[in-house]
């Protein structure tokens, strides 16, 4: 397993994350509906909005997984902090970064991952919107564009420019 690298600006990134006062807050409909929509759109059993804290990944919204946090070293979303283009892993067991990630592959039984980084207006990447499946999958350019568009909605909500509870 290759753990995610720590960006050089991680302290500033964490400061931006903490300023949102969102870590460890209860679930909110404005985020839950985006995650539920992503899971339905792609027919994926797992979807979540992950935020990368100093030592952990914490999920603001999630479907298909019980745990709301995991060790940062096990996090696939943590690999997106320096990947503005996003990340698609068709088969986690065939990728040297993740094939022996016990938490993901063995315990959760996950095989497929697609994530779009939460790039805030100030440039800091706080986490990712991701979808996962328990079987290997493909993800085409249209799928990626859809995931990116949903990611943009998450960023709008995080940055206070979203529709909030008013959106239907």
């Amino acid at each position: 397993m290759i753990p995610p690298s720590i960006p050089a600006n991680d302290n500033e990134r964490l400061k931006a994350l903490y300023q949102l006062l969102i870590l460890d807050t209860p679930p909110e409909e404005r985020f839950d509906r985006i995650v539920a929509f992503a899971a339905d759109e792609f027919d994926m059993p797992v979807a979540q909005i992950s935020l990368i804290d100093r030592d952990r990944q914490w999920a603001k919204a999630r479907v298909g997984v019980d745990a709301c946090e995991m060790d940062r070293r096990d996090s696939v979303c943590g690999h997106l902090l320096d990947k503005p283009e996003g990340l698609v892993v068709p088969d986690l067991t065939a990728d040297e970064r993740f094939h022996d990630n016990t938490a993901l592959v063995d315990e959760a039984g996950l095989r497929f991952y697609a994530g779009s980084p939460l790039v805030m207006p100030d440039g800091h990447v706080l986490g990712a919107l991701c979808v996962m499946d328990r079987r290997p999958r493909e993800f085409d350019a249209t799928d990626r564009a859809i995931l990116d568009a949903l990611r943009d909605l998450v960023v709008m909500e995080l940055s206070g420019q979203g529709k909030g509870a008013d959106a239907t």
């Binding site: 509906r33 339905d40 759109e41 350019a141 249209t142 568009a149 949903l150 909605l153 239907t168």
Partner: protein, 135 residues
Amino acid sequence: MRHDALPALLLLEPYFVLRHTVAAVARELRIADIVEATSLESATQMLGHRSFDACLVSVGDDRLELGLIQRLRDGALACHPETPVAVAAATVDAGLVLALKEMHVSRVVLKPFKVKVMLDTLTKLVADRPSLPVA
């Protein structure tokens, strides 16, 4: 460098996440420039003031939106009466099918609504466009 203008489509869809995502991806993939209408009232206002190359209309359970399509076909709006129209509906029965046929609705999207299916419908709707004279 000059880019060709994208076809202008009206999307009447009340659900924000679906509507916004379809519009954003259609623009990103250069399928169409989508104008979003959140309600029948706003769609009526938009269609009364400007022309569109095609329309995708979500029809609610009360089917009030069919009246708007009929007005378009009657030439009562700013769009050309032969503008291609697709409909998204939760359910379809024989009565609705007949009404859609009579109003020359060219495509129907059924629930569960997926962004990818709607984009595919938009792509076909754009291809359906006849060479229309100015209304």
